[in-house]
Each structure stands twice: as structure tokens, then as C-alpha cells.
Symmetry: D2
Subunit: 337 residues, 4 copies
């Protein structure tokens, strides 16, 4: 096949980023459609994809046969109305996380995909493509250091925009750890509980954070997640894994060391855009390559559903202060492999 | 004053170590009495302190006026019968942690000291003399990085002896973090809760660990403590502090870096004896210096009591799986300063 | 322009690597010709570039108009007979280092390019595209830490093949530092001197190494280069820069830290293929992008000539044990910019 | 023996430091005499050693039998007139480096000691008591990583006082590496050569530095020494050792890591007083302990002489720009052991 023709849905920050990525760094793909209701935003995005056409909605793009595959980069609450027609049209989809905002609607998408009889959806949990997590997963799977017993995750942002509200601590941020803990352990999240650190007064008033989420997997691994969105100093995502015979950690910064003013220092990232730049590129390249072969090569709709179910329990845990069990429906055979 | 004459009570591993320390590395002190019921052990210890005399019990040593001060290095359950006569004799005391095994008996010691009208007891929480914790405490107190919000502590041993049982996870090991969290925050422990990681099958059968203890201080700092006594790889004690504006960590290993066989590596400690060697020396030197001036220069009997109260709650939390509030009695004015 | 059609000349290790790179990771380019006298090697290479055609020599490929640009990946002594017809055909060229093996023949290439009136050649000094060197160059240029005074470079290979001989220490290995020192300092190498460390008995018998090369730039910076090709432990390339006000270093390994068996360790690279993978990709992507715009975006033929002149002095310094001044001819105005 | 009675000769910065050290941190010794011509300085020093007596010169102190041993802390050019009467009186001596300022006078001291028939002098090369150098020496001696081939030393000061002049780069500063290279390799310095980095304009006008000294040992190890006394950023002394099978480095800073303002940072030392505090303490404690047993436990007068001979060659190398061979006289049998 020649170039994979991609429709990017949503031309906000994330979508615009993906357009540049596909045009400049991804081999074998091109953006041929930008689906975006806002004309101004669409026009700005098209500057980086001059050959692409603008469509105000997904139906129009499908009708025009403008693409071979769809990349959904809108906010989570707008995913479902794009997913449904795209699935019905049989188009391969890379859907930014979350699949949908709750377990019921995510299950509905799963059911639709099952009805279609073919896996079309990959969910954008891009950390699975980060070399650090891949190395750690391999070390766990190797058994070389004995069983994995626990995980300590820290997820720190310098600051968040005003639109960020309390539940987003779980469904927008901890959701990454919810997926990655399962990726690392190959075990589902069984329960979630949320504790509070002393509130950071530099955080927006409506937020009560940092929090400590405690995730328990079905095979007994305890994962702690420090979720901290106003830590000022930088963007830091790291994980320390506790094994029977030792410890491994990923996510510490590297780069030039400078020795000035009495200090030896290394710069930390300030944004996910640099911290996970390579992971985003790899994710999309592998999705493009797999799509051309009619395959999925990353987290599936089922992974998206499992995360949605755990997120729902997590939000309840955050609100109630209780430990909340995660409830899952039965796994369709389409996802056995 | 010339040399401070010290009676070391208990000539087990810890006592024998302290005898060598005082004789070889501490200025202005000498061991003049070894109090130990077991004659063989006493004789062995006396080889490192040839001028010292052997006493089978503390009363005999007091009667002989064999010392100016007492260092208690027996197991915790044997502290009280030594503390009482030593306090009554008005002798300055350095008592290895714990002060006593429970809150009631610790309070009784506090009351006895209060009745005596003078602080005589220093408790052996030696981490307060470790440069890392001192630096971290200064950074917290400085306010330079904003308020302290949380702490992540890890306390890892390669292995433990057969005599180590489950409650000791709290009263023998986490007790160090119980004291150091208060030292760092200047706030008392308000509640304790204990979670379990997946059990380490390399741990002795009677132990269910590693555990994660959650300590909440009265001013809202949340401290997590990974207590892990069979991690095989080394002895590691470290703390990561979460501030409003950033992070600080202490306890990472330093030393020679070697670049061999495809790896860049640094050695970790294998025992508290090397990890905290300098802290033990500093603790005893400062105790000796202060004692000569009739003062205490370290954690008091009151600190010992507070730790005992929190430990009691911690053991209950470990056994019950519940979050347990710590109950404290009223602080005597003797400890205001 | 659509895809840039590239002829890869030489299908050995390096050439095969570049073919995979262009096909799988470079946007906007494809391999359309493989120029290689050995048919078996050519066939093997064509498996990764099914649409490419095989040519036994460059002249045939040019005659067939099989490409828009040429990537030369043969050993250095075979560069000239490819460069000359390619320049005459006006084709953009990315030529692996060295430009040619000596200063006279490099100058001849420069003269040919000057006669053609247009810069066509970029030389494959890929370190200029390594983020570490880029960061260091920016720090130097910023003047923030004062003037640069000296550089300490280490260039370490685990081992070298049997074909590696003593002069290659300079023309195959130190040549990278010769170029990068100029890149970092924006000053030419003025003199070279070579000292010997104690010989490594694990090195092939014909080699007398590690060596210490001392490069002096025209503006007074002294660079030391430890060239060490049998150090067994890994592939390590690092630079420490000495400024008026401090130090900066690049090239220390990063990645997962493991804490096992009493050691905290990080893996080192074992080959330039992983150490400089990103630099190779960036180099070729930028060359492709620039070529489409009719530009050079990297080290020029003039840079290749300057390196050749310094290498010649370096080989003489290695053989004689003396400090050797580098002699340069006059710079053509084509390279002023 | 009870307390070793020490006369400290010279009550400047170094002497005052040693007085405090002996009084506060060294077991089994006390300062009983301060030898210092300047009465004000002597009085100030006596405040930290109230039991000591003041003597304007060494002869008076000897006549008064005021001490069992002598610690010489005056500048190097004043060592000889103290050493001679102290040796003649048969007193054990710890003499700050250098033994004397030149090879001839150092040899004279050696001859005097030989005539006395007993080793009395230990020279204050305190780096031999630094744990980093000790670990590195053990690694070299173990042969585990093959032969040692080369060393890269860096010796960096933030700044130097106005009294510091150019030759002091060698005899006051590089002298430490001259001794430590021999300590690490167990081989004498065979030749010295000095190169210049670009001059640091922040250095005092009379200094032309940083320099790069090249030390060659008799068994073929090449040591590079970056001597840099105006680097502003901190006090850093480190060594990287090149083995047949890998690399080891000592002297990188450790301590609290802080993560603020986009940087992960560790503090560097600002002075030898903290960098080598433990080494100074260990040196003096071991000297005191050995002295009580009538022994030397550190670098001897012969080591002091060897350093003086190499320093003399080094100063000539600095002035001439040539490689200078070091000339040694015959080793007296007193120093065989």
C-alpha cells in the first residue's frame, strides 16, 4: 500500500500536534482530512497539511471517502459520536484516551466493535510505547528478579490549566497509571482508594491535591500513585518497581549535566510533549504500519473499557474516601489472543 | 570534666558495637562498666574495654559508683528495669530505641523522670544525626520550597534473622520512620494505616511483607513507608519529600562508580552498620558532650513516649487492616523548651 | 516535491543500515537505487527496498537517472570515484566520513564542487545531530558560563574488528572528535600531539592503545581525547567542557536503574548503532528535507577537507610522537555564509 | 599510654583547624603546646586548647618537654627549622605537605632521619585517607578489571587567594596528584609535562591557568591532571581510572538531590575543608594511634622526598614547556618494608 490516508478529528492542541507529527515524522502516512467544527482552528491546522481537506463532521468525511483511517484527538466526551460512525464504516481508528468517559459507554463501543466482528480501535495510551516502561515490563516478565510485589508511581505536572477540575485527577491523569499498571503487571485493577497529601496552596482553589491513589491488582500487586499537578518544578513521570530481589526505576531525567554555582544539575522536562515525544512518534508509526496490514498493534477497545471501569471506581474513591472495588463485565472472545 | 565514665548495659551485638565506638572513636568518654548477666558475653566485651568492670545487674553497678552515665543497649523489653534504678540514681541515660515496648510503660518512665524534676534520658533514634535527614529538615524548615506536603519513605533490608516476627515490622522497623517523620515535620503522627504489597516468598514464612504504612501527621502531611525486610539487594533507607514547589530526596547511595560489563554501577550498603555509622558516632559524641554539661542533646523520653504511642496504633493497624488514630496523654511541662 | 529518490552506494553494514533507516524511519524519501559491485550483497540489501534497482557502479545509476540524490556508504578510500561523477551530474550527496582519506584528495573534491558553483556535498559527521553535543554547543555559544577553556573527550569501544589498524585510531575514530571540537568551538584545530597510555594487552597485537590525543584549537582551547578501542565494558562517547565558571558534561548513560545484588546500575551502550541511533535518523531526515529545498543542512565538503587536513597531522603525530601543526589551504568563498 | 601530648607548630588557618580537630574529634590525644611566634595568633588558638602552653619556637617547647609528638602546620618553607630539632629530639612528627620545598632539602631530612635510625616523620598527604582513593587503590590492586592503563584527574578550586602564584599550581596543588598517582599505582613518577588550556580571565592576572599536567609513571601509566584554581563553581577533586576492562571514577558529589525550578541538582563542596574533612580526621587518628605504638601509619619522609623531586621537575616543566624527567637519589634501606 502507498501512503495511509488519515483523517485527524479535532484540531485543538493535541490534534494539531498529531498533524505535524504525521506530516513530518511518520513514514507511510499523510493527513488527508481534518474534521473540526471550528473553521478557524481547522484552517490553522491545514497550514501544516496543505493537501488535506476540511470537514465539519465525521459523517461528511466518511461520505467523501476522504481517508483510510481515523485519528480521534477531541476531548473524551466527544469520542462516542465519532467512534460510532467510524466503526460502522469499518475504518481503523486511533482514539486518544479515554475511549469514552465512563464504563457503560465504553462497553457500548466494545459491543459495537464486537458486532462488527473485527478489532478496529487502538486507544492512545502512549506510555506503552515509552522505552522505560517497555524495559521495565520486560524485566518483570523475565522473572529474573523474582516476582513483582509493588509499584511506586509519581506523576507530576508543573501546573494545570483553569479548566482542570478535581475528578480529572483520576480520569485525565491517574488513568495513565491505571493502564500502565495493567500493562506492567498483566493483571487487572481490583480496587482503588485515594488519600490526600496536605493540599498545595499553589494549586487552583477548586483542586484538593496532591493525592495518593492506591491501586491493587488482581494478582496482589499494590501500586501507589502520587498524582501531583501543581508541583511547579517540572513534568516528571517515574515508576519504581519493587521485586522479590531488588528494585528497578524508570523515568529519571537524563541529559547534559552542568556544574555551576556550587551545584551539579540536570534539566527536567517541563511538559509531556518532550517527555513522551518519542513514545507518541512510535505509537503512531506502529499504528500506521499495523493498520496497513489490517491489524491492531497497541491497546485495544477492551483495554479502553477496562481503564474506563477502573476510572469510574477511582472517581468514586476520590469522592467518598473509601476503597472501591472495580466491577468488570465479561470479556468478549474477540479480544482473546 | 575529664573522661565521662560510661556503663554499657547489654553486651550483645549492639552493646559490643557501642563499646568499641566509645573506646575508639568517641572523645572524652570511656567504658568503665559492662552490665550483662551472661558472664561469657561480658568477658568478650571487656576485651575491648580492659579498664571496665563487669556487673551482672545495674543495681550492682550503681552501688559501686562505677559510672557517670548509662548507655542501655539491651532489647526493648528489658529497658524498664534498667531505666528505673538509673533514673532514681539521677544518672544520665542514652537508651536505645524503643524507650519501652508500649505507651503505658513509656508514660510511666516519663512520669518518673518528671518526678525526678530533670531530663536524664535521651532515646537512640540515631537517624536524627544522619546528615541527609538533617539537610532535609533544614530545607523543610527554611520554607524555601514552600510547605511540605508529603513524604515517601523506603526502608529496605536484604534479610532479617529468624527471631524477627510480624509485629516487629512496626515496633522494630517502622518506628524509625515514626520518629523521623515527626523530626522532619515537627508534627505528631495522627493516624496509621497499613496496606500489604504482594507477599515476598523469599521472606520468612511467618512474615507477611513488604507492607506500606500510611502515616498522617497532625498538620496534614501524608507519609508513605515501604517497609521491606527481605529485598535481598541491600540495605537502603531513603526519603523523598514533596513540597509545594518541588521535590527533594535523601538516602541514595554514593561512592565509587564502576563502568564494567556494560553497566555503570555504584555499591549499596548491606547493613545499617555502615549506612548509619557516622550517625551513631555523632549521636554518642553529642550525648557525651551534652552530658558533661548536664544537658540532653537529642530525642527525649517524651519523644520516646510519642513513638511508643504511635507504634501501638501501628501494630493495631497492621493486625486489623484499619486506619487507627494515635492517642496521646498530656505533655508534662518538663519537656517544653 | 514528492518522495526524494535516493541511491545508496555501498551495501555493507553501514549501507544496509541506511537503507532500512530510509525505508522505515525517514519521511519523504525512498531508496530507488543500490549501487554495489557485489551482487549477493546488493540482493540482500534490496530485500529491504523492494522497489529499488541494482547498479554495479555509480555511472550506470546516473545514466539510468535512477535517483535524485546519493548517499555514499562505502569505505573512505572508495569515496572519490563516486563523488566525482555524482558532483559532475549535479546530484546532492550525503557522504559518510571521511570525505576522502587525505587532505590533497579532499581539497580536490572541494575544488570540483567550487568549479560546479554549488554546494552539493554533506559529510556524515553525525555527532553534530546528537542532542548532547547540540546542547553543549548552545551552552558554549550562549556565553552564560564564560569562555570555553578546555574539553576532555573520551571515545571508548568495547572492541574492534581485526581489520582495524593503528592509523585508524586517528582517521577512523579521533576524526569524530576532530570535527566535533571544531563544531563546539567554532575554531579550527591548530596542532595535534599524541601520547600513549600503558598498552592494553587485550587489544589486538598490532595496536598500541589507548592513546591520548591533544588537540589545540586556533583560539586556544585544549582538547584531550582518550581514544580507547578495547575497553571491553561498552561503547561510551562523552565530553566534559571546562568553562571559566564551571563544567558541563554530555554523554553519560541514562535509562532504567536497577538495584540488585548490592549495586545500583544503569546499562551502557554496546555500539554506536544505539548510542547514535537518533543522531543518524536526524541527520538523514534533515538532509532529505534540505535537499528537497536545494540546500545543505550539515557539515560541508569544506568541513570534510578541514577534518582531512587535521587527520593527516594526527597520523603524523601518532607515528612521530611529536606535536604537529595542521596546515590548511585557503577557504573558497563558496563556503562563506 | 594515656593521652598523646601534641605540640601544634603554626597557629594559622591549618594549625587552628588541627587544634580543634585534636581537641574535639581525635581520641587519645590532646594539644599541650602551641608553637607560634605571633602572640596574638597563639592566644586565639589557645582558646580551643585551654590546657596547652604557648611557645614562641620549637626549641623552647622541646626544652620544656611539653609534648610527646609534633604536628607541623606552618607553610612549607618553614618546615626544615622545625623538623631538624624535632628529629634530633627523637619526637614523632606529622608534617603537613610538602616535607620541604625542594628535593635537596627533603633529601637532607631523609638523611637526618636515616642517621637517627628510626622513622619519625609522617607527611600530610591526607588524600591517602580518603575513602574514594582507598577504594580505587583496592580495585587497582585486586586486578579484577585488568591492569590500570591511565588516570584522568581533575582538581578544581572555586578561587585562590592573592598570595597564590604560578609555581604553586605545581608545588601546592598538583603535588597532591603527584603523591596520589604513586599511591594508586605503586609506581614512581617518571616524567612531567605541562600544557595550557585557554587562560581563564577570571583567574588572578599573574596566573596562567588552567593547566593540564601529564604524569607518566615508571610502569607506563599516563595520568592527566586538570589543575584549575579559578573555576568558580566549587571545590571538586575527582579521578577517573582507565583499566583494561573498564573504567572507575571517584570524587563525584553525593548528598541530598533537589528537584526545583526545572532542575535535578546536588550540591558540590566549596572547600577542601568539607571535601576532605573525614580524610583529615582519619589521618590524624591513625597517626595518633600508630605513634602510641612507636610506628608510622601513613606516607613517610621518603614519600615526601619523592614528591619533592617530582614537584621540582613539574615546576621546570611548567616554566619550560618541555617534558622533564624526574631524577631520584637512592632509597635508604630504612624505608624498605
Amino acid at each position: 500500500m502507498s501512503e495511509l490516508r488519515i483523517a485527524v478529528v479535532g484540531a485543538g492542541l493535541m490534534g494539531a500536534d498529531h498533524i505535524i507529527r504525521i506530516q513530518k515524522r511518520i513514514v507511510g502516512a499523510e493527513v488527508t482530512a481534518v474534521v473540526e467544527p471550528d473553521e478557524g482552528r481547522a484552517k490553522a491546522a491545514l497550514e501544516n497539511a496543505p493537501a488535506a481537506k476540511w470537514f465539519p463532521n465525521i459523517e461528511a468525511a466518511i461520505a467523501a471517502k476522504a481517508m483510510d483511517a481515523v485519528l480521534i484527538a477531541t476531548p473524551g466526551q466527544f469520542h462516542e459520536p465519532v467512534l460510532v460512525p467510524a466503526i460502522e464504516a469499518g475504518l481503523p481508528i486511533l482514539c486518544e484516551k479515554p475511549l469514552t468517559p465512563d464504563a457503560v459507554s465504553s462497553r457500548a463501543i466494545v459491543d459495537l466493535e464486537v458486532a462488527k466482528g473485527k478489532q478496529l480501535i487502538q486507544v492512545g495510551f502512549m506510555r506503552r510505547f515509552d522505552q522505560g516502561y517497555i524495559n521495565l515490563r520486560e524485566l518483570i516478565a523475565s522473572g529474573k528478579q523474582g516476582e513483582l510485589l509493588g509499584l511506586h508511581c509519581a506523576h507530576r505536572n508543573p501546573a494545570v490549566p483553569d479548566t482542570y477540575h478535581n475528578d480529572m485527577l483520576i480520569f485525565d491523569s491517574v488513568v495513565h497509571e491505571i493502564d500502565i499498571v495493567r500493562f506492567l503487571t498483566d493483571s487487572r485493577i481490583k480496587s482503588i482508594e485515594v488519600k490526600h497529601m496536605r493540599r498545595n496552596k499553589l494549586s487552583p482553589e477548586k483542586l484538593n491535591e496532591p493525592i495518593l491513589a492506591l491501586l491493587e491488582t488482581e494478582d496482589g500487586v499494590l501500586a501507589t500513585v502520587e498524582m501531583n499537578v501543581s508541583v511547579q518544578f517540572g513534568y516528571q513521570v517515574k515508576t519504581e518497581a519493587v521485586f522479590q530481589k531488588g528494585i528497578a526505576e524508570i523515568g529519571r531525567t537524563a541529559g547534559m549535566n552542568t556544574f555551576f554555582d556550587g551545584q551539579i544539575a540536570t534539566e527536567e522536562h517541563m511538559s509531556f510533549k518532550t517527555r513522551f515525544a518519542a513514545a507518541y512518534d512510535t505509537q503512531i508509526q506502529r499504528w500506521v504500519d499495523a493498520t496497513k496490514l489490517g491489524k491492531i498493534d497497541g491497546p485495544s477497545a477492551w483495554d479502553g473499557y477496562l481503564a474506563a471501569a477502573a476510572v469510574e471506581a477511582g472517581v468514586e474513591a476520590l469522592r467518598s474516601g473509601n476503597k472501591v472495588q472495580v466491577v468488570y463485565t465479561v470479556k468478549p472472545s474477540l479480544y482473546n489472543s
